[in-house]
Subunit: 303 residues, 2 copies
């Protein structure tokens, strides 16, 4: 009887050699910083939009030393190394993205979360979704590369970060909409430097902005609150300020991605202002594993 | 200057005549019932799988009386009527689904959640995602048609309902996997009748099952715990029991959808046992609005 060896045919969770996760980019419109002794409890409150453009992370467990590559080039990403350590996995990690690094798109958080999800699947670590989000959030916070991207990227859509921290501490809501998103980037801005500075003024402005949006969870209000935050935050470089002003003059609404020299607008805001932006939309699902077979795809009745 | 009239071009949230939401089906493998005075705090703990086959709900606000249709035929769904009342919207509601009604697929919850999301968008109600989930959950609970489908359907994937209730009360986690799902249905079972009976034994078995799965959040454990729950729950009709046994004999793992005369299996469990099942997969994103334009779709880099 061959069935003796087939008693448990659900080999879904068992070790496979290679797994891929896709994680949306995330631009934050406004935030307040909330440090805490435990990294899982630390984070930010605020709001942003997740992007259909994101980071693809493929993890292949190995007996050799862990190695990382970004768009085919060797690299190091502290948060990704920390995630693998937390899971006890050594692996080759291949990351690809069309997003600029260090420009406010949450690439480090996406890389950490994608690595957590793909490593868990590839090495059959048996962690839950919340646990993987926590591990990636802790790594991003401890490396000083992000405070709230990971939890937003796990959710997708237009996330509101009501309370800071990983799932067991934090609390999320969302604006129920899926707009087109346009963005232009003028270069990086160091998250670590800004967060190491005086964040009190930033956080007061961020709290005000979140109050506005929770009172009226509409896209218009989110964009207006984000624009007001960008003005109060005093982080606008000349090209960023010029782009935001140009979109306003064209009748649109733009804001700055926190933290990067990046301007984002909904629908055709930047195009209408004469820019040649990257175009994507909000991400419908948040981070997820890619299936390595698509046998059942034809039967998907729900888009 | 025409821009004077275009100061706020984000007409995304403003009233549109017709909006559509798609909501996954959901089969519960095991649960414990947790009544509460407030419907938002009531619900179930447990686990299940969301399905790529679901319910599509189109809402068109009207000045006439609210009317509902399911697959083109006039119908009444108490939870949907309650959702529209809660939002103060009168509308024509058109629901379509390939799922059997009353057979444990959470069709009532999906209809309620889809109506909430589509009505909010169509009538510009300005509610947040959590608020819409709460309204649909309350309606499903108060009508006795479901205790935990709505929160699971909002999340997608393989949701674990750690604590009962709408978002401000409940707590979710998930098994990070996206298996193929097969199901066969042998007819309805009244949720209201079962829940009106003695649920103590059910709930003790459900609590045990959830402990197993939170200790080891893998698909194999979920299926084993669900099968054990189905046996202890004493709700197995002969064809359901025969199908579960046949899948086991073929080396697979099947369980009963709570509450319906429905058997589900992962991957090819029912096919291997000689059944001709419906085939779908887990739903990657949970409930969401359909965009009525797809201009930005080509730019989606993340699958």
């Amino acid at each position: 009887m061959t069935t003796v060896n087939r008693r448990d045919p659900l080999r879904l969770g068992m070790s496979r050699s290679r797994e891929t996760a896709v994680v949306p980019g995330h631009v934050t419109g406004f935030f307040s910083a909330h440090p805490a002794t435990r990294a899982a409890a630390a984070g930010s409150r605020g709001a942003g939009v997740t992007l259909s453009t994101g980071v693809t992370v493929t993890v292949t467990p190995t007996d050799a030393a862990t190695s990382l590559a970004l768009n085919g080039e060797p690299t190091s990403v502290g948060a990704v190394a920390d995630v693998l350590d937390a899971l006890g996995v050594r692996a080759r990690v291949e990351m690809t993205t069309d997003l600029p690094v260090g420009a406010g798109f949450g690439v480090s958080g996406a890389a950490a979360l994608g690595a957590a999800m793909a490593a868990n699947a590839a090495a059959d670590c048996g962690r839950s979704e919340n646990d993987l989000v926590r591990i990636a959030h802790e790594a991003d916070v401890e490396r000083g590369t992000g405070l709230g991207d990971v939890v937003a990227q796990a959710r997708g859509g237009v996330p509101l970060r009501l309370e800071p921290g990983a799932p067991q501490y934090g609390s999320l809501d969302g604006i129920p909409a899926s707009p087109r998103v346009e963005y232009v980037s003028f270069g990086p801005l160091s998250t670590a430097d800004v967060l190491a500075g005086d964040t009190d003024r930033l956080s007061a402005a961020g709290t005000d902005a979140l109050d506005r949006v929770t009172d009226d969870p509409r896209l218009e209000t989110f964009m207006a609150a984000s624009r007001a935050f960008a003005e109060r935050a005093n982080l606008l470089s000349p090209p960023v300020e010029a782009a935001i002003d140009a979109v306003s003059a064209a009748g649109g609404s733009a804001a700055m991605a926190m933290l990067g020299q990046t301007v984002f607008a909904l629908e055709t805001g930047l195009s209408d202002a004469g820019y040649d932006p990257h175009v994507c939309r909000t991400h419908p699902s948040g981070a997820r594993l890619l299936r390595d077979d698509s046998a059942a795809d034809e039967s998907i009745a729900v888009q």
